[in-house]
Amino acid sequence: MAATLFFQVLVNGLVLGGLYACIAAGFSLVWGVLNIINILHGTFVVIGSYSAYYAYIYLGVHPFISVVLAGIILFIIGYLFQRGIINRVVAAPVLITLSLTFGLDLFLNNSLLVVFSADYLKLNLANPLGVLQFAGIYVPVDRLAAMVLALFLTCLLYWVLEASRIGRAIVAVRMDREAATLMGVNAKHIYAVTFGLGALMAGSAGAMLSVIFPISPIVSTLYLSKAFVICVLGGLGSVAGAMVGGLVLGVVESFGGLIFGPEHAMTISFCLLILLLIFRPTGIMGKKGYE
């Protein structure tokens, strides 16, 4: 019995963690390459969720297909934000860049509140895929599929960074902006693409999350803070780190919720984050005082 419970909680955590990984991968990419903490990230996730919701209600498009749609929408939004606004302060001190993305988020999130209101929306699929049962462990297939899709997307991002032309340019700019510029890379464009890719990951994750969690502009901070925690857990600017960090956080939250009650899941992850920052800022992130 205890073993079944243990595995049930573990599986729940892993399913959740896959989705978290997808959220964090984009956030981590932007932080690592642009050295900007994108406070907008949570709101991007929410926009992705709304896109999927309305695509399903009005067009009947399944959220898993809307992942592409949401990704494209958010990529465009992200690209424009970076190209038009954030690029102007990209090398400025932390206080400036952080205040800027904060300001942008206040604006964007408040706009969502005005348009969609704070009321929670729930997307109920007309034909849910049912529940998978294995050795006494239950997993809703929709969730499982969302997780697999999320992990697939995260791997795709990894592949893009490793193998594609644009990905190599991003990596080059990250390592040495001056040198990359000399070799003909348009750094401003690359920054914007990077930010766009980060937003794309957020939007896609949001579309998948719409099947699982209620949708409201209010939950954006929740997603944002998870992205923070995962980045510190898994290491900065690495897709693989986001993947590991996401899965770890999912499992920790899942077990923490079991022990302390689900309403404290968030607090547990925050405490974890602060402890990590205090005791092992170098060990986990590899780089100390990265500014």
Binding site: V94, L95, S99, L100, F107, M266, F270, C271
Partner: protein, 308 residues
């Protein structure tokens, strides 16, 4: 000499406010003084030491709850404010020792998240704090007009003390050392500055008055809840105020607070459902176009440009 005259003029003006104006203006003026306490307090760690602190909400909320709980349990109001300030200060000292070794983004995030944790802790301690239901603070037995003036003058004193401490610190080795730390922390250490103690002291100074203001706030509005006093915006506002007038300057934060409150009030009145968004736009505008502060603009040049 000139600055002293201006300072004197401002003080006289502030003292005249409760005599010549109505309760609405007094409330706004009290608010402005409280904001200037936030900004001056933030300036210790953010302006002087150059650490991007987002901990104002933590200090404020903690002070508010400490003061409120004292008052609920029969401690006199003024003493409760002092206790509120001290509780925040002790908290900041311990927190500072733990997180001030972090740099840049990591410090910013750590300081930001503390407020979230505190909020959750207070939310969960329902037995003591009333949790999400909030906490009622005993109302003073006096007329509305008298109350408004009492609170105004109290805040005036708190702000004056904060200003005095800021001025004192910036002219002493502490302020000088913080300036060195801001420019190059490693070099500051090798020059003989005990950077850990200096930074932690600055962090604590930034907490003590903010905490006092929190306790004051609880008495002033008679009701607090975790969502209200640990609101993330409280951490951002002082930064915007200081940014408006250029970081590091002594009276900059005070002027910034006045300006900010004016804009906020304007936005509140005209954009009821969208005031947070407008606030956001304001921040964006400031950061992009005036990163060194409004005071740094050469107005004559600016006017010439506009006229042509």
């Amino acid at each position: 000499m000139k600055t002293k005259l201006v300072g004197l003029f401002v003080i006289v003006l502030l003292l005249l406010i409760p005599i010549i104006s109505n309760n609405y203006v007094i409330r706004l003026a009290t608010m402005m003084l409280m904001y200037s306490v936030f900004a001056m307090s933030w300036n210790f760690i953010g302006g002087m030491a150059g650490y991007p602190s987002f901990a104002t909400a933590s200090f404020f909320g903690l002070g508010a709850y400490a003061g409120a709980l004292c008052q609920v349990n029969g401690v006199p109001m003024f003493l409760a404010w002092v206790i509120g300030g001290l509780v925040s200060a002790v908290f900041a000292w311990v927190l500072g020792l733990a997180i001030l070794h972090l740099k840049g983004h990591y410090f910013a995030i750590a300081s930001l998240i503390v407020a979230e944790v505190l909020r959750e802790v207070i939310n969960s301690a329902t037995g003591i704090t009333g949790g999400g239901m909030g906490l009622n603070i005993p109302v003073l037995r006096m007329g509305v007009d008298a109350q408004a003036r009492l609170f105004y003058f109290s805040m005036f004193v708190i702000a004056l003390v904060t200003l005095a401490v800021s001025a004192y610190v910036s002219g002493r080795p502490l302020g000088f050392g913080l300036k060195c730390i801001k420019q190059n922390e490693d070099a500051a250490g090798m020059t003989g500055i005990n950077t850990t103690i200096y930074k932690t002291t600055a962090f604590t100074l930034s907490a003590v008055f903010t905490g006092g203001a929190g306790a004051f706030y609880a008495s002033w509005v008679n009701y607090i809840d975790p969502e209200d006093v640990f609101e993330i915006l409280i951490s951002i506002k002082p930064i915007v105020m200081v940014l408006m007038c250029g970081a590091g300057a002594l009276v900059g934060p005070v002027i910034g607070a006045g300006l900010f409150l004016f804009l906020e009030e304007l936005v509140w009145r005209n954009f009821l459902t969208f005031h947070v968004g407008m606030l956001g736009l304001m921040v964006v505008f400031l950061v992009i176009f005036l990163p060194t502060g409004l005071l740094s603009v050469d107005y004559r040049k600016f006017l010439k440009k506009v006229v042509r």
